[in-house]
């Protein structure tokens, strides 16, 4: 492996700034790495070598001209295929959008371009971000770099695996119920779901609009913060976006990395642990807590009684909104069009046939569930009640913030499970997100950082949550934990992963 791909994004910036390397070199090194390992990993749906190298050249030129550059200029990045990229196929992991070429860029993609981050390609995901294993991609699953027979988490398994397998130093994800954090946990990487509204959703193909949030994915806390600073901030095109400055996430990460968490009040969510959680995952979590305590943080138990309804509320609100958001995939304006096998060809029958052929089973399940929950006679009992539970969960958090600065839990109850293990058992699959979901329901920020390897030798994640708009706390805690753990391990967790066998990628149609 080219040594360049082992660097952190922050280190890459240092070398770029000192002109020891160029962005073209750096980008090419990652394209080469993708070429050699992505056949085994399948993190990418499409790579964009020409686009990325052109952007890298532009970054180098801008740097050469002495322009005042954004911090990550020239560092390549992978983008989850749920974000619209102008002129470049965007499928959301779905067959129904196999041929969709957006006429516009998502706001965050625009920000990447403006900040000169070359986009290496679009990463694999569960179809329309619905899943916790990336097995629901219409284009085949992504494999966990730690064990190719295991899932990389989901829905953003592609972004997490790309970063975990050193195919990219940075990636963008989206998190509706844990789609950034749970993959981070099971691939030994870092992922953040910012405060709802902290990052623009314009151009993020919506699953559940009141839960979705774009966020950064990287191999360490500082890189994640640097990326957060690039993509965050107000966007008038997203009226739910916060009209606040981006929180001081980079400063907070540096503070944490320096070990400064003295006096920080940490609350352990009683409801998110214990029964149903893998022993090794709990062990690493407890050790992490002890480290933080050793650094001067105070730790106490906090109860959030309404959390036991969170999964149920989530599986009503999310499918309800999704059923409406995904209605537009109707074969009239874009995407594939499928004629009915029998009967007259009408707009209605073509819609039905296209949606039957174009959506995978998990998407259909959720659309039907959501349509049911919103339909006449059921709204109050299902969607209405779920929204009330949402209020109760927010109240639990409000009460907790009276006592502590951050709440913590294991990110996911287990390490990566085997591919195919839970594919046809939706309820079992849904449980993977039990600890990440309350965050989305409340709109608060959450981070997952590696806590070590569990008894099965697979990565486990440590999750921290903070009040709305207090994203900086996450980076402080995450940074402190990362520094303490790496001190103990003698290096980043990713360094402990086995080398991935070289397996060239199946030739794909290049972008277009």
């Amino acid at each position: 492996m080219n040594r360049l791909t082992r660097l952190s994004a922050a280190e890459m910036v240092t070398l770029l700034d000192s002109r020891e390397i160029s962005s073209v070199e750096l980008t090419q090194a990652h394209l080469d790495r993708i070429e050699s390992v992505d056949g085994a990993i399948h993190a990418f749906l499409r790579t964009l070598p020409e686009v990325a190298l052109a952007e890298a050249e532009a970054a180098d030129a801008a740097r050469a001209s002495g322009e005042d550059l954004p911090e990550l200029a020239g560092v390549p990045i992978a983008v989850k295929d749920v974000l619209a990229t102008k002129g470049l196929t965007t499928t959301c992991g779905s067959k129904i959008l196999r041929n969709w070429i957006p006429a516009y860029d998502a706001t965050v993609v625009k920000k990447l371009r403006e900040a000169h981050l070359p986009v290496l390609g679009k990463t694999n995901m569960d179809e329309f971000a619905m899943g916790s294993s990336t097995e629901h991609s219409a284009y085949g699953p992504t494999h966990n770099p730690w064990d190719l027979d295991r899932i990389p988490g989901g829905s953003g398994g592609g972004s997490a695996a790309a970063v975990g397998a050193f195919e990219a130093p940075l990636a963008l994800g989206s998190d509706t119920g844990g789609s950034i954090r749970q993959p981070a946990a099971v691939t030994g990487t870092v992922g953040v779901k910012p405060t709802y509204g902290g990052v623009s959703r314009y151009g993020l193909v919506a699953m559940a609009s009141s839960l979705d949030q774009v966020g950064p994915v990287a191999r360490n806390v500082l890189d994640t913060a640097l990326l957060h600073a690039v993509i965050g901030g107000h966007d008038p095109k997203d009226q739910t976006s916060l009209n606040d400055p981006v929180p001081p996430v980079v400063e907070a990460a540096r503070l944490g990395l320096a070990g400064d968490v003295k006096g920080l009040r940490i609350g352990v969510v009683q409801e998110l642990g214990g029964s149903g959680f893998q022993a090794g995952v709990m062990d690493r979590f407890q050790e992490a807590l002890a480290l933080l305590e050793g650094l001067g943080a105070t730790v106490r138990q906090v109860s959030c009684p309404s959390f036991r309804y969170a999964l149920g509320a989530y599986y009503l609100i999310m499918p309800s909104e999704a059923s409406s958001n995904l209605a537009r995939f109707d074969a009239m304006r874009y995407g594939i069009r499928v004629d009915p096998k029998a009967g007259p060809v009408t707009a209605e029958s073509v819609m039905g046939a296209t949606r039957e052929a174009g959506f995978g089973p998990e998407v259909k399940r959720r659309i039907i569930l959501g349509t049911y929950a919103l339909s006449a006679g059921y709204y109050d009992a299902y969607y209405g009640s779920a929204q009330k539970v949402r209020t109760l969960i927010q109240r639990d958090f409000e009460a907790a913030w009276e006592q502590v600065d951050v709440l913590v839990s294991p990110t996911s109850p287990t390490t990566a499970f085997k591919l195919g293990e839970k594919l046809d058992d939706p309820l079992a699959m849904y449980l993977a997100d039990v600890a990440t979901i309350p965050v989305n329901l409340a709109g608060i920020p959450g981070i997952s950082v590696p806590s070590g390897l569990a008894e099965d030798g697979l990565p486990a994640g440590f999750q921290a949550l903070a009040p709305a708009r207090a994203d900086a706390f996450l980076y402080q805690v995450g940074g402190a934990l990362e520094a303490a753990l790496e001190d103990k391990w003698g290096g980043p967790l990713a360094a402990q992963a086995l080398e991935i066998p070289t397996q060239s990628r199946v030739k794909e149609a290049s972008n277009g």
């Binding site: 405060t195 036991r308 309804y309 874009y334 707009a347 819609m351 399940r365 779920a386 009330k388 989305n440």
Partner: protein, 99 residues
Amino acid sequence: MPAISREEVARVAALARISLAEDELDHFASQLDSIVEAVRTVSEAAGGDVPATSHPIPLVNIYRPDVVHPSLTVEEALESAPAREANQFKVPQILGEEP
């Protein structure tokens, strides 16, 4: 008695414009039934006096000024259309009616 019947799944699938095959209908009916059963607790959790939360962060009165920005070109608008004619989207005959 199941929480959600096979007939109900068929009705809802039609409402969602998904032409489910017969075998899919059976499969989904049993899965959806267990999911609906699992989420039912939600309706017991919240009493009548708890307000609903539709937006996680409470903001109000967010507006856009009434200022024109350039539209897409006609070509960009129609680029991904499955079928087109005379700069319009061509769609199959519509048997329904305006609601």
